[in-house]
Every structure is written in structure tokens, then in C-alpha cells.
């Protein structure tokens, strides 16, 4: 039975939204700013009124107040109470539930240990770093043992490293607690790392719900395809393991060596911004470097998309306008391409 169901939910920009979120699933909603992601969290938590129905464990909760929905909600602003210490912030929900003092203290301590914030117990929120605040807010949400956790951009406004570190820890905690989680972000890479399934929202509509891999290999419409960056999908005709964690794949005239640990690769998705393009041969070994002919040049808002044919394959590269202006690429001219190995996605056969 799905743990959360949204049936014909209408609120603000969201129009007739239907979603089913499985029990213990980490369900990530991605989309641009104003797509209606936070509105859906507000609907599930009951902090806003709405049309339609929300069912939790198959039971309608539309008439259940936000106090009793059993939902932990991490607001984007975090909303840590500035007048309470870290310990008191985390204990707030426990005291509200009438948990006995020593039991509440034990719970607060165990949560602080889990989130590695035990040393912050007596500090006030203004004394904490961005990452520490997020951990405290998360511990506060988890304290009353909610059935569902709603996270609104939990790693926003953190630097890349801290965000990645927090995301890994968060994933670890969520898997350990086996709590149904709805996670909102605008960053598809973040969604990929953490999600069991992803829903893409655009202008209040759910465009696609699928596994992270399907997002790249099977975008269901132009909107999804546009959001994931129209990746280059390469069908592999051959694949062989070179060494542990290293595989050579062949697709017509393209032969690549990739870091990969698993069975045979059937398809590869390469984001256009992960393809380096130049009018001169780039330095370095001739690994994953190809020479082709420019087939098309398309100017987008702030980037330029260049199509380069390499044998039977055509690779699309995307680069900022400023970078494009520094090189001289023209239709029909030779171009050099390097495939970066940062964000490749694979389909195994």
C-alpha cells in the first residue's frame, strides 16, 4: 500500500497533482524555482489548505490538523527557534507530546549523537554554522519519531563539499531509520545521489516519475529532456573489462575507457556540459579524445550547443557563450572533443 497518496491536489500553481509515494521510499521532487515543489510539501504536512485529497497509509488526512499528521517538516528556512538552545530546540516536539523528562533527554542525546552535534547542546542557533543548523533542524524533525519526513532543500545555501558530506550522512540516517521521505531540491545531481525515485515538476505539473536512471535514458517528454540537459545516449556494441573498476566500451567509431565496476554496459548517457570541445587538439594522452566535424551550432540563453559528428555518432557539447567566443568553431570545420568522466550514467545489459 502506498504510504502517501496525493489525489487531484490543487493549490497555487499546482493543478490536479496525482502522486504515489511508497513506504520507506526516498522520493525526490525536482524542478525549477516556482514549479510547485514546496507547495506539495505544504499540502502533505497540512500547513496550507488545498483542494483534493492526501492519504497516508491509505487513510484520508485532509481533516487531520498538521499537529496530528505525524509528519516531520524541515523548512527551507529551518525555522530553528532562536531563543532556545540546540538541546531545547530538539526537545521541543518531545515536550509538546508530553514525553517524560528523562526519556526526552535520552532521545535528544541519542539524536545529537546520530547527527554528530552532541557538543552543540547548549549553543544558540546564531552560534552555529550553516551545516550545523541543518543537522539541528533535522534532529528536531526526527525527535517526535514522525512517520513521514519532508525535507525542503536541506542542502541549499551550503558550499559544495559540506552539502555533499551532509547529503551522504542524511542518506545514511534515512536508510537506517527507514522513514518515508519526500525530499525537494532543484539540483538533479543531488536528486540522483539520494533518490529511490524522482518526480520532475514543472509549472505545477508532475512531468515524470521514475528511477534516477530512467530520467536520463527514458525522458518521457521534452520538458524532462530539457531539464536533464538532453544527454548524449550512446549504444555500446562492445564492452570489456580492462582491470578492476575499469572498462572499455565501443560504439561504432567511439572507443572509451571508463571507470565502472559491474557487468557489461549497454548504454551510456553523457551530459552535454560534460563534453569538452576545442578547435585545437587538447594536451594529454589520447584517451577518450576524439576528432570530428561540427554539424550544428545552436545558441541558447547563456550557452551554445555544438553538435559534432564522430563517425556514425553525433555528440552534443554545451559550453558557456563566453567560452565559445574564445574558440573558433564553424559548421563543417574540425573540432576536438574530450569526454569528461564525472557524471556518466550507465545501463547494464
Amino acid at each position: 500500500m502506498p504510504d502517501i497518496q496525493l489525489v487531484g491536489v490543487t493549490k497555487h500553481i499546482c493543478r490536479d497533482v496525482h502522486l504515489e509515494i511508497e513506504d520507506k521510499e526516498i522520493f525526490v521532487i525536482v524542478g525549477t524555482t516556482g514549479a510547485g515543489k514546496t507547495t506539495l510539501l505544504n499540502v502533505i504536512s497540512g500547513v496550507t489548505d488545498y483542494k483534493g485529497s492526501v492519504l497516508i497509509d491509505g487513510i484520508g488526512v485532509d481533516k487531520v490538523s498538521r499537529r496530528k499528521r505525524g509528519v516531520g517538516y524541515l523548512f527551507q528556512s529551518l525555522a530553528l527557534f532562536p531563543h532556545l538552545t540546540v538541546g531545547s530546540n530538539i526537545a521541543f516536539g518531545l515536550k509538546a507530546a508530553g514525553v517524560e523528562k528523562t526519556a526526552a533527554e535520552d532521545r535528544v542525546l541519542s539524536l545529537m549523537e546520530m547527527m554528530r552535534i552532541k557538543h552543540l547542546k547548549t549553543r544558540y542557533p546564531h552560534m552555529l554554522s550553516g551545516g550545523e543548523k541543518k543537522r539541528v533542524a533535522l534532529a528536531r524533525c526526527l525527535a517526535p519519531s514522525p512517520r513521514i519526513l519532508l525535507l525542503d532543500e536541506p542542502t541549499s545555501s551550503l558550499d559544495h563539499q559540506t552539502a555533499k558530506y551532509l547529503r551522504n550522512e542524511l542518506l545514511d540516517v534515512l536508510k537506517r531509520l527507514e522513514i518515508t521521505t519526500v525530499y525537494v531540491t532543484h539540483d538533479l545531481r543531488e536528486a540522483e545521489e539520494i533518490a529511490d525515485r524522482i518526480a520532475l515538476m514543472s509549472k505545477g505539473k508532475v512531468e515524470q516519475v521514475s528511477t534516477p536512471r530512467d530520467f536520463f535514458f527514458n525522458p518521457q517528454n521534452e520538458c524532462v529532456s530539457e531539464f536533464v540537459g538532453m544527454p548524449n545516449i550512446i549504444d555500446c556494441t562492445q564492452s570489456r573489462i580492462l582491470a578492476s573498476g575499469l572498462v572499455e566500451v565501443v560504439s561504432d567509431d567511439i572507443k572509451m575507457v571508463l571507470p565502472y565496476d559491474g557487468n557489461r554496459i549497454k548504454r551510456i548517457a553523457i551530459p552535454p556540459d560534460d563534453i569538452y570541445i576545442s578547435d585545437a587538439r587538447p594536451p594529454g594522452p589520447a584517451l577518450n579524445r576524439f576528432t570530428g566535424t561540427v554539424q550544428e551550432i545552436t545558441y541558447l540563453h547563456s550557452t551554445v550547443r555544438v553538435g559534432v559528428s564522430i563517425g556514425k555518432n553525433t555528440l552534443l557539447a554545451e559550453l558557456p557563450v563566453s567560452a565559445f567566443n574564445e574558440i573558433s568553431l564553424e559548421k563543417g570545420k574540425e573540432a576536438h572533443v574530450v569526454i569528461k568522466m564525472r557524471r556518466l550514467r550507465y545501463v547494464e545489459s
Binding site: 499537529r67 509528519v71 521541543f92 516536539g93 546564531h126 517526535p144
Partner: protein, 256 residues
């Protein structure tokens, strides 16, 4: 809070010392004509000692202090209560806001003639004036503070399962404290100013009454003693509330 360096303290005291020295010199050496209207500072100090020793100052000061404390405490308590209710419940705010807005701009002393007729010349008169003086600004500041509490704090508390009363007392009122203290601090000093005016006009005891008696006897030294006492009390009351505010909200309010 930043500690004041000793040099800064001396620098701040310098104008006061210069002023007292000039005052003493002008008074003692009779530098201007009509000098009996300006006794030297030392004479004022001597009179302060004399009034304290014979109990006149103490008796009048105690009368004024009791009036201020009773009026300020009751006015502030009522103001905080009404302000909290108005800030917390929109419907009550809509009902009370027009009448509060109409009465708030009336200067506290403007009520004096009416109150003299309504309650007569007795202890209740200055207390009522101080009550009015402190009630309206505290209502206004408290209601504003309560209304301005970020709604996300309330929503966060609700999703954590807190009841309305718990949210009010554990989240909203503490977060509104800086605003509430602004009202209290302003009125703490103001209550002394209003009290003296009331005592000068209508009440035969208290610092204000002592001022009026001194004026009729052309005792400039006593007038000056009273003015110094009033100045110190205004400052002291404001400082007490500032200190209380610092203790209660200083650890977090600047960063809220």
C-alpha cells in the same frame, strides 16, 4: 556587550565635571547679577544632605516611588496582557485596534482634568495617570511584537505537535520580548515625568509636590535637589529594564 574602556569612561565624565565646576564657580563667585537664583553645586549637595537627614526627601520620594511602581507594574501587566491577546487573535485585534488607536495619541497628562473629576484628588490619581501612560505604549509594542513573529516558527511548532498555548508561551511571547521591552523601557522613564507633573498639579505629597513648595518659597537649592533625584530615577528605571532585557533576551535577540 562591548565593555567600556576606562579612558572612554573618563572622556564621558569630562563634560559632567566641567559642567559642575562651571556651576560651582558661577554660583560661588556670583559672576552674574541676580545670583540668588543659582546656588552653587556644593550648596545643593548640602541641602540634599539636610533634606535626607530630616526625612523630608525620603518621605516624598517614597510616596512618588510607590505611585510609580504600582502604576507602572499594573499598567505594564495590563498592557502586556491586552497586547498579547490582540497580537495573537486577529478578531480581537480588529475589535480593539480602533479604540486603542483613538486613545493612544492622547497625552497622559491630558487625562488629568477628567480624572480629577472622576476619581478625585487622592492616591489613585497619579497611579491612574501612570497606568494610562504605560498601558497604551506597552499594548502597542506587545501587539506589534506578537504579530511580527515569523509565521514559519509557528508552523514549525505546529508540525512538531505543539498546542496553541504552548506555541504562545514557549515560542511567540519569548520571540516578542524585544518589542515588549522596548515599550517597557520607554515607559519606565516616562512614568516619572508624568508623575511629577501630576503631583505638581494636584497631589500634596511626592517629589512633584516638594518641587512646588520649594518654588513658592524660592528655594532654588531644593528645586535642584528634586530635579537631580528625578533625573537619576528616570535613568535608573530605564537602566533596570535595559538590564532585564539584556539578561532575558540578550543571548539571542540580536541574531533573531
Amino acid at each position: 556587550m562591548k565593555k567600556t574602556k576606562p579612558l572612554e569612561s573618563i572622556w564621558g565624565m569630562l563634560p559632567v565635571l566641567v559642567f559642575i565646576t562651571l556651576w560651582e564657580a558661577v554660583g560661588r563667585f556670583k559672576l552674574f547679577s541676580g545670583q540668588f537664583f543659582l546656588p552653587p553645586f556644593s550648596a545643593v549637595l548640602a541641602e540634599f544632605y539636610h533634606l535626607t537627614a530630616n526625612g523630608v526627601l525620603g518621605k516624598n520620594f517614597a510616596s512618588s516611588l510607590v505611585r510609580v511602581l504600582v502604576g507602572l507594574c499594573s499598567g505594564s501587566a495590563a498592557g502586556i496582557f491586552v497586547g498579547v491577546v490582540m497580537g495573537w487573535r486577529k478578531v480581537i485585534n480588529q475589535a480593539l485596534n480602533p479604540i486603542i488607536s483613538l486613545l493612544y495619541p492622547i497625552p497622559a497628562l491630558g487625562w488629568l482634568p477628567l480624572l480629577m473629576l472622576w476619581i478625585g484628588i487622592n492616591e489613585m490619581l497619579p497611579i491612574t495617570i501612570i497606568f494610562i501612560c504605560s498601558f497604551f505604549p506597552v499594548v502597542y509594542n506587545t501587539a506589534t511584537g506578537i504579530r511580527n513573529v515569523d509565521r514559519e516558527y509557528i508552523l514549525a511548532a505546529e508540525t512538531l505537535g505543539a498546542s496553541n498555548m504552548r506555541i504562545l508561551f514557549k515560542v511567540v511571547i519569548p520571540l516578542a520580548l524585544p518589542n515588549i521591552f522596548t515599550g517597557l523601557r520607554l515607559e519606565a522613564g516616562m512614568s516619572w515625568r508624568v508623575l511629577v507633573a501630576a503631583e505638581m498639579v494636584a497631589i500634596p505629597t511626592g517629589i512633584g509636590a516638594l518641587l512646588m513648595q520649594a518654588e513658592s518659597l524660592v528655594r532654588v537649592d531644593i528645586i535642584m535637589v528634586c530635579l537631580i533625584v528625578l533625573s537619576v530615577m528616570c535613568l535608573l528605571f530605564e537602566k533596570i529594564f535595559a538590564l532585564a532585557e539584556k539578561r532575558m533576551v540578550g543571548r539571542w535577540s540580536a541574531h533573531a
